[in-house]
C-alpha cells in the first residue's frame, strides 16, 4: 500500500489551479451588507442558536414572573451563609448516637440495594421484550411507552402512591424506588441490547439456538459491561433517592434523621454531621462502583 503512493505519483497529476478572483467569488456568500459569511450552512447551527435564544428568553421571563413575595434578599443570603457555616463548619451529633446514625445509613443503603436488585432483574426481562432487534414492534412500542410514563412520574410520588396501599415504611419505599429504577433501567438495558452487533444473534439463530440460549450465550455476555455500568449508576441514584425519600416521604433511614434534625428540631449542627456522613458514603460508593465497572470490562 505504501509503494502504491509512489506509484500513484506518476498517474495522478496535481490539480489544475485557476487563480482568477471572479472564480472564487462564485463560491463566496455575502450578507446583505456585503460582508463575507464564514459560518457553516447547516440546519443544526440555526437550531443551536434558536435553542440558546429560547432558553435564555425563558430564563429571563422566569425571573420576571416569579413571585418573590417581597423577600429581603440581602438578609436571606446573609442568613443562608450563616446557616451554611453552622451546618458545614460546626457539625456535631447532639441527639443521635454514632452507632444509631450509622445503622440508619445502613438502612438507607439497604433500601437502595433492594430497589436496585429488584429493579434490575425486572428490567432485564422487560428489556428483552422491548429491544427492537429482538421483540415484535408492537410489543416494543407498548412497553416503551408504558416505561416512559413510569419514568416521568417523580420517585417521591411513586413512594407516596405506594404508601397509600402498603402504609409508610420500607415496603412503600422499596416499591416506589423500584418502580422508577425499573423504568430507567429498562430503557437503558434495551438501548444496550439494540447497540449489539446484529451478526452475533444471527449467527446463533443460524445454528438453531433457542431463545434462552441466545439470551444467555449472546446477549448477556455482549451487553454485560454496559448493563453493569448502568446498574451501578442507578444504584448511586437510588442511594441518593433513598436519602431523599426518608426526608420527604418518611421512608426511614438516614434521610428521616436529616428531616427530623432539619425540619423538626431545627438542629443545624446535627444536620451538618448527617450531611457529611451521607456525602462520605456517596463518595465511597462512587469509588467502589468505578472499581467494579473497571473489573467487569
Amino acid at each position: 500500500m505504501i509503494n502504491e503512493t509512489v506509484a500513484m505519483a506518476e498517474r495522478v497529476p496535481l490539480r489544475e489551479k485557476s487563480h482568477s478572483e471572479v472564480d472564487v467569488e462564485r463560491f463566496i456568500s455575502r450578507s446583505r451588507k456585503g460582508k463575507i459569511k464564514i459560518g457553516a450552512k447547516s440546519k443544526s447551527q440555526l437550531a443551536v442558536k434558536l435553542l440558546v435564544l429560547v432558553l435564555l428568553g425563558i430564563t429571563i421571563f422566569a425571573f420576571f414572573t416569579f413571585d418573590y413575595q417581597g423577600i429581603d434578599f440581602a438578609k436571606a443570603v446573609s442568613d443562608t451563609l450563616h446557616n451554611i457555616k453552622t451546618v458545614f463548619l460546626e457539625p456535631e451529633l447532639t441527639r443521635d448516637t454514632v452507632g444509631g446514625v450509622l445503622y440508619q445509613l445502613l438502612v438507607t443503603f439497604c433500601l437502595g440495594t433492594l430497589s436496585t436488585i429488584i429493579g434490575a432483574v425486572l428490567a432485564f426481562f422487560c428489556s428483552l421484550l422491548c429491544a427492537r432487534n429482538l421483540a415484535h414492534p408492537v410489543c416494543v412500542n407498548i412497553i416503551k411507552s408504558v416505561v416512559a410514563v413510569a419514568r416521568a412520574v417523580p420517585t417521591v410520588l411513586w413512594v407516596l402512591i405506594f404508601a397509600v396501599s402498603a402504609g409508610l415504611g420500607s415496603v412503600a419505599a422499596v416499591a416506589g424506588l423500584t418502580f422508577h429504577s425499573f423504568a430507567y433501567l429498562t430503557k437503558a438495558y434495551a438501548e444496550s441490547i439494540e447497540e449489539m452487533d446484529p451478526g452475533i444473534i444471527e449467527a446463533l439463530k443460524a445454528n438453531g439456538a433457542r431463545y434462552w440460549q441466545i439470551v444467555c450465550q449472546a446477549i448477556l455476555p455482549s451487553t454485560i459491561t454496559s448493563m453493569v455500568a448502568w446498574t451501578f449508576m442507578r444504584f448511586e441514584i437510588n442511594f441518593a433517592n433513598a436519602v431523599a425519600m426518608g426526608a420527604a416521604a418518611g421512608a426511614g433511614g438516614i434521610g428521616f434523621n436529616l428531616f427530623m434534625a432539619g425540619n423538626f428540631y431545627f438542629d443545624l449542627h446535627e444536620m451538618g454531621l448527617l450531611t457529611y456522613i451521607v456525602v462520605i458514603a456517596v463518595v465511597i460508593l462512587e469509588m467502589i462502583s468505578t472499581k467494579i465497572k473497571a473489573k467487569v470490562k
Binding site: N3, A9, S29
Partner: protein
Amino acid sequence: MALLSFQNVSKTYNNVTKALQDVTFSIEEGEFVSIIGPSGAGKSTLLRCINRLVDASQGTIFFDGHNVTLSKKKELRELRTKTAMIFQHYNLVDRLSVVENVLHGRLGQKSTISGAAGHYTEEEKKEAFRIIQEMGLEEQAYKRCDELSGGQKQRVGIARAIMQHPKLILCDEPIASLDPKSSKVIMDHLKSINQTKNITCLVNLHQVDVAIKYSERIIGVTAGKIVYDGPTSGLTKDMIHEIYQSSEHDLITDVQG
C-alpha cells in the same frame, strides 16, 4: 544563520521515559526535510519541542534568531504564529465550517476579543477563500468539517497552516491516516508550498519511500537519537535497517532505486 537549530536537546517524560537524547541539527530556510523512524522514536516530541507544545528538558532550540526554550508568553505566541503545524488526525474543530477552520490560522495575530468572537477582516476572509481554492476545496467552503473525507480534512489543515503565513510548517505524520491517493495529493501540496512560497517544511513520516521521493534531506531518528542526517541520496538500505532496527526481511518497505 540557520532558520532552526537544535543544540543538545533532550526530553524526558516523568523523569523516566527518554524521548529525545542529545539531539543536534539545523535546518536552513527553504529546505524540505523528512524525519523518519519507528513509532515511539521521539519524532512527534521533536516537532512539538519547536513550537513548545512540549517543553524540552535540556538543551537549546533557536528559531529565526530567537531562543525558543526561553520564550515567555508573548514571544511564545509570536513564535507559534511563525511555525504552523499539521497533524495526523487533522485536529480541526469538526463542527465549524471549512472557512472558519482556515481562519483559525489568524488567531495568533488577532486581539483576544475579535479572535474569540470570530470576527475577521474582509481581507482575511478573502485570503482564506483564495487558499481554500488553491487547495481545491472551494465547493466545500461552507460545509462543516465533519462532512469532509480524510484527505479533504488534511487539506483544510494545510490551508489553516498557510493562513498563518508561517516561516516553517511542522507536519506530524500528515498522511498516516490517509489512503495512497489522498496521501499523494497532500504530499504534492506540501511540496508545492515549499517550492512556490519558500516555506520550510519539516515532515515526520514513517513511510520511507515517501520521504525519499519528496525530500532533499532526511533525518533518521531511533530511540530518541539522530542516527542519520544527510541528503536523501546518501540513505542506504543498511542505514534504513539501522533506523528501523530491523533485519533485512522484516521491513515491509524497501528502497526503490
